[in-house]
Assembly symmetry: C2
Homo-oligomer: 388 residues x 2
């Protein structure tokens, strides 16, 4: 496609045009990833206020930091999808597009005349992506969902937190972000497929399905025992030591994924004898005696500060970490070096910074800033000129 | 590529050949996604026991459920990467490959003679993907990492759990899974790019960077206030109601993303007056009075069972959910309908099932089973025949 008058041209998806009808989080996170990869993303918003998330806090100088974080680097045009004139404009965009993405409830797009079957006739090369709470099929397809609905139904809340404690949601919206990531992977896979088949296919991703796909070894543990696993606090289910231990002034995370690392750790903390303790000499036995292991380690870790232990363990090559708060994580020298969190090119919200795609490519430099998020309908004139 | 004698041919990546040098979780999760998308994944393992995770529990009939979950549908060949003869075999594979992926510590591949610069000379179309704890560059590049190291350093542990409570790890290994997903997205984006440039590029993804990219609105909240956000239990930082509420026999999750939904909810629970309560009449005010809101809602939610409220709220179209345990999530009718969790085609571990990719494509049917995981070196003869 030739439409590159705006947006990034510095990524492997340069030249790809995405028409983005999504709102709030899962869809906008997906198209933000595509924009960071170089695609031109045209955000189509309802004329009455646009994306709901423009009204979500936190606000910085009157602008939604929530919205900016997911929509920087996109263009905006306001279209009323029930209006015939605006529908005609959407068709102009689709004629020049590679990808359409929407996150309405299943059936809404078909009622508007923009369902996947109808569009396939008109635009056989168009990739049609839908992301929704429960997917386009099945008994729950019509139900509404938000992040916490997917987190709760998908099992991750049942294994996060502390046994017997109150319910715990993963502190970031992994219900939305997971679906957004899988949708992006589906879209780019469909782009690859189109190079050989010439045909655009439809992509259907559900938030609930995506949560199951992230349950990891909890599924195997369920089948091996016939009972559902419980939350384990900060502990790993089958590796020890692999959790957070109390120090004089906080916690230190220590992870030894094999017996040799555990022995190195014991030497480093001047307690080589622990590696020969019959309760602790193999990972299996350490896992069986994980409570005793924690008590034993904390009996001396508590005597010094987190910083002391991190310095000592780092010298010995033992995987260890502080529990950083968000500010510490953002300002960590490695994160800064990698330009993972970058300022937005919008003076009115300085010093707001946003996370970008963490994917680095040879030949494509990570920028020092991310472009601003669009005001509602800001790019109308250029978009109409580019899609005659 | 013509090598399709094994592996799936039922996905958009059919025909793509991936040489997989990764171990344990982030890398194997990435290549499992690629296999589910149709790629042929050849797992190259060290002859002394293979992937470390073959020794990780839970075990089912002597086989590692952990390993099977991440490696079903791949082929295995054992190669000693320090042996000249085996290095020659790896070169045979690379001649016919589209993608190489590795998760050694940075520098290891170059020392073995398989660094990205060396391979670019030999195989200019090869996509070279690296996933690691901290990335290929920067002051922490050489440090070791496991999932909990990335979770702790990347900030997500600081916003998960309950304020003042003990440290809480996300119950699935999002430190690994996030990096695996971003790596897969980078690889497929590089495949798309190669169709037009003819050139294979290198992909570099870090677990730490990936955690920052999943912090979502916590980053904007940090910049808007100058202080790091705290863990909020099951609560959303800026939407209310959006958490888990106590019922007579457990909890019910209720999420109302806007004022109109909250009003519908109040009517459904026969307390329309709450929508006009000056503490609760807008989302902003409900967020300010979120503790009073929870007390008010729980005063009547506690009187009936979770099932009662789910039925009532579903009839009224209010987004609501139970907190499913892992077994309930797996056996949920929607999850079963969507074939997200599928049996493995290996009688020796029946009834073990695994999560597959949650991405559905038109024209590619989701299978009813997933292929078995390979024994170490199981596919050697066929692989050597296919890559002469």
């Amino acid at each position: 496609m030739a439409h590159t008058s705006a947006g990034s041209t510095t990524g492997p998806l340069a030249g790809v045009v995405v028409i983005d009808l999504t709102r709030v989080l899962a869809g906008p996170f997906c198209t933000m990833l595509l924009a960071d990869l170089g695609a031109r993303v045209i955000k189509v918003e309802n004329p009455k206020g646009g994306d709901d998330s423009r009204a979500y806090g936190p606000f910085i100088n009157g602008k939604s930091g929530y919205f900016i974080a997911q929509n920087r680097g996109k263009e905006s045009i306001a279209l009323d999808l029930k209006d015939a004139g605006d529908q005609a404009i959407l068709h102009r965009l689709l004629r020049g597009a590679d990808v359409l993405i929407e996150n309405f409830r299943p059936g809404t797009m078909a009622r508007l005349g923009f369902g996947p079957e109808a569009l396939k006739q008109l635009y056989p090369r168009l990739i049609y992506a839908s992301t929704s709470g429960f997917g386009q099929t099945g008994p729950f397809a019509d139900r509404p969902a938000y992040d916490i609905i997917a987190q709760a139904m998908g099992g991750i809340m049942s294994i996060t937190g502390h046994e017997g404690g109150p319910p715990t949601r993963v502190g970031a919206s992994i219900g939305d972000l997971g679906a957004g990531l899988f949708t992006a992977l589906g879209i780019v896979s469909a782009l690859h497929h189109r190079h050989r088949s010439g045909e655009g296919i439809a992509v259907d991703v559900a938030m609930l399905d995506s949560q199951l796909a992230l349950l990891e070894n909890a599924i195997a543990r369920y089948y091996s025992t016939g009972t559902s696993p419980k939350p384990l606090g900060a502990r790993h289910p089958s590796i020890a030591p692999f959790e957070a231990y109390a120090t004089k002034d906080g916690h230190v995370v220590i992870a030894c994924g094999n017996d040799s690392l555990f022995r190195q750790f014991c030497v480093a903390v001047d307690r080589a004898f622990l590696a020969d303790d019959p309760r602790f000499d193999t990972n299996t036995r350490r896992s069986e005696h994980v409570v005793a292991l924690k008590e034993t380690l904390e009996s001396f870790l508590i005597q010094e500060t987190t910083e002391y232990w991190l310095a000592l363990l780092n010298r010995a090559g033992i995987p260890s970490a502080p529990i950083n708060d968000v500010g510490q994580a953002i300002h960590h020298p490695q994160v800064q070096h990698r330009r993972v969190v970058l300022p937005v090119d919008d003076e009115t919200v300085a010093p707001l910074a946003v996370a970008g795609s963490p994917i680095k490519f040879s030949g494509f430099e990570t920028p020092e800033k991310r472009p601003a998020a669009p005001d509602l309908d800001q790019d109308r004139a250029r978009i109409l000129a580019d899609f005659p």
